[in-house]
Amino acid sequence: MTVFLIFFPLLAAMLIFIARPANAKVWAFAASLIEVAASIVVTTAFVRNEEVQFIINIPWIESLGLNFSVGIDGISLLMVLLTTILVPLIILSSFKHAYNRASTFYGLILTMQMALIGVFTSLDGLLFYLFWEAALIPIYFICLIWGGEDRGRITLKFFIYTLAGSLFMLVGLVYLYYHTPGAHTFDIQALYEAGRSLPAAEQSLIFWAMFVAFAIKMPVFPFHTWQPDTYTVAPAQGTMLLSGIMLKMGIYGVIRWLIPVVPSGVEQWGFTAIVISVAGIVYASCIALVQKDFKRLIAYSSIAHVGLISAGTFTRSTLGVQGAMIQMLSHGVVVIGLFYIIEIIFERTQTRRLSNLGGIRNVAPALTTVFVIVMLGSVALPLTSGFVGEFLLINSLFQYQAIVGAVAGLTIILGAVYMLRTFQKSMSGEVNALTGVFTDLGTHEKLVLYPIVIIVLLLGIYPGPLLEISEPAVANLLKIYSTYSASLK
């Protein structure tokens, strides 16, 4: 089943690449719907405990200790669900846009999905790394081929920057690999053991090697400068993929591949990570305040949100990690909605400068409603998805260190400041020449945005079932961590 989940999108992508059907988008959409169905089947078959399920383990390169080993536990399942549900929305969001070489475009999106699901299900260190990098290639080309101005330089910076980070992770993984007991292997459990057997100083080094990779991917201040440019230049769907799903890889990496692997390193440097994450919240929020470009503004807001998730994760508490899980889902949905709204506005007005917009609310009530709800999700209003996660995260941070929690809480204020300003500048006021002829949402757009709105509200009102899915697995991972810490004392 896991194999199907991973490789069905690739298969579909290959077929689309080769067959080049005239209406590639429809085929891609159908494929992504099948993937949704598959993920639902998995969810129903999933037993809610801490076990990793649907395990497949095939030797690949034995001399390198590389096995094709995948499986799904609660944490993975949530991430897989996020991926499978967002991808159809992303594909659907492009229906109005006639991309050149559509088959390539949709093929790349599906390839990306393959890599993402692979990342979230890998149980082998090197395999994880392979999927991790494999996710970079399709998104790079999506941005390069269909991106905006100056994309060559910007996407290259993005590529090299993230690649640089992940190479550090690779070094860390290899180092761990050579410390696995017995015959060396990249099996996740063996890596856990290897990491824990290392002395504290070496764990610190491994911690930094891997943390840098994850921090760049998320991205956390000060490793973030590739992100605003890339988000701005990427085509809408590319931005959605990047922000909606891809950055979750970093947090997922921290949860599964960092905290349990080098507990002592995390113990030693976790606070530093929290501090820079929290500093990033305030920093990115401030910069978002003065952005003139709508997309860039949301890009910075994403940095701020991710900073909070990252900080919460590093508290190593169930509350924090669970908060991170739910906030990842929420952020994925919300940010996709926001970027799509930006795309809708851009497509109609050909501008993303806030000062050129305004008054859209007069002519597009449906868009306004959606925008408001998604925005509320972003500013974490209770009963929207954003609140559940932010509450748990701030809670965990506050328990960890009250001051840090309080500073992190500033996101509640600053987030409102820049989001409301954005809403006001773009939607309120009188219409102008650009926005006067604005048409309200079309069918396709509604089909994308309404589900997003529903998810935002549903997650906010009744997050219980999702939290229950990941709770045992999170508790299990943290137990691995805490037993180690306890054994030191």
């Binding site: 910076k157 609310r361 209003l381 506050f398 328990q399 409102a416 997050p463 219980g464 939290l467």
Partner: protein
Amino acid sequence: MVDIKLLASLVPLFPLLGFLIIALSAKRLSEKITSVLACGVILLSFILSIILFTHLAGTTSGDPAIRVSLFNWISAGNFHSSISFLVDPLSSLMLLIITGVGFLIHVYATGYMHGDEGFSRFFSYLNLFVFFMLLLVMGSNYLVMFVGWEGVGLCSYLLIGFWFKNQAYNDAANKAFIMNRVGDLGMLLGIILIFVNVGSIEYSDVFAGATTIDPSTVTAITILLFIGAMGKSAQLPLYTWLPDAMAGPTPVSALIHAATMVTAGIYMVARNNLLYSLSPLAMELIVVVGLATALFAATIALTQNDIKKVLAYSTVSQLGLMFLALGLGSFSSGIFHMATHAFFKALLFLGAGSVIHALGNEQDIRKMGGLKKYLPLTYFTFLVGVLAISGIPPFSGFFSKDEILAAAFAHSKPVYLLAVAASLLTVFYMFRLIFLTFFGNERAGHDTMHHIHESPKSMTIPLVLLAVLSFAGGLAGVPEALGGSHWLNAFLSPVFSPSQGILAPHHLTHTTEYILMAIVVACTLGVIAFAYSRYVSGGHVPRPDGQITGGLHRVLYNKYYVDQFYELTIIKPLYWISQKLEAVVERSGIDGLVNLSGKSIVSGSNVARHLQNGRIGYYIFAMVAAIVLILVLGLI
């Protein structure tokens, strides 16, 4: 027999349904159906509230509170929270006020908003507001209260910026939301601190475990919660949003910014009376903040010329008085004043709305005057409201304000004096308002006067009903000194008894109370006379904006320059820092560093390629030199 718990959970459900139906049907429903629907759901909730109220009032034995738990909301690790309701005397009283006053205002609004293009939007927001307000007061744990707390903030935001074409209104809406958020952060942290120390956020668990918490932590918790209240109930220093919030339609000002939402802070403190009573420091803080706000806002109100702004500052001031009561440990007085205030302030706002409506959206009292004969019903009801707020017996305000002043007197004399000053200032500016509006010369333009008309029935009937309430509302708390039994105190005692046990408030003798009442009433009448002589007999009209002289006057007229102060100390620096962060740290600093590494590679390459200069002679030299080096490396 219908299950009482079901009824309880239906109370917030009806407004929610109303909201959903109106919102989802977009503009397809006609104004009439929308009005009926919107008012109907509130009415249903009101009826249910009455049932609940009578149920509670009728239960004499044991704990009368009704608890309903709907479903688990957020749970992770050891944190659990559910969507659950608690209906006890305090919340049932709140329910009555919210749904009752809310219903009247809804009805009023059907007339007031008639013909507005956002008619259905307005009512959907309004219903949503009632829903959140009900959640706020009915929640049985802090998180549900917080949901309502933020929810009402949202509706307030939406309704202040209801006329979104005007960017000034939008600014006001943003300001309201953000200032509330500042408070909300404090509140959220307070809730988290409670959870950290008690391990639960259910009221019952927290109150049961309150005495086990470290006293300094209690202080921290209560102060954090109070920061939330400062934002929501517009106390110093977070009050500036409320006057600006008058940008919203007048029914909104009446419902949200006078009767209900802004009193959420009062409710919250009253709800946590046990925690507050454990922290004398927090109580002191509330006293100071409440009193300062009362005076501060009252002085500003003296010079304002916008009819709604005056009322807004008056609201801030009154809220200050309520906090004063709470801080003095006289929780039921605070609640009492909150209730009466809800009546008369709603009345005043609606009356003002009626005036504005009649004058074609004119809000400047300098352009009114002599409206008594054109708008008799409005004038009459407005007068009732003014008398009530001024504390003229036997209007409701008299009883509730008197209680607060009595408590202040019992606490300390200076506090009492200041409180009296605040209430006398209130009397002055309220009468200034009514005199300038309804008495004297007609200063409105000719066109305006031509179209002037009394408001439709849908607007006047609520006015009348509210006037009745403003008059008679005080009967719920006639003090023993005046032969009453103070029914309200008795009704709320299950809620406040734990804290009263700790605080053991002073009781004044009846004689003292009589003297105090007499003094206050006498002063009040004196002030009224002064106002009359100045504005009616003297015909004094405030000067236009440009001609204001006198330092104090100007300071007051400009609201102590607080907005400017905030602009200068917070907003400007924030943007300045942000801009610098972006320009210096982000672009030149971090990104500059990243780009520099890329550029240095390219320039390094430009250097390195000159190693390859195409000349064989040079190549061979390099090779021989390298061979020598390698021999040195390998052999030495």
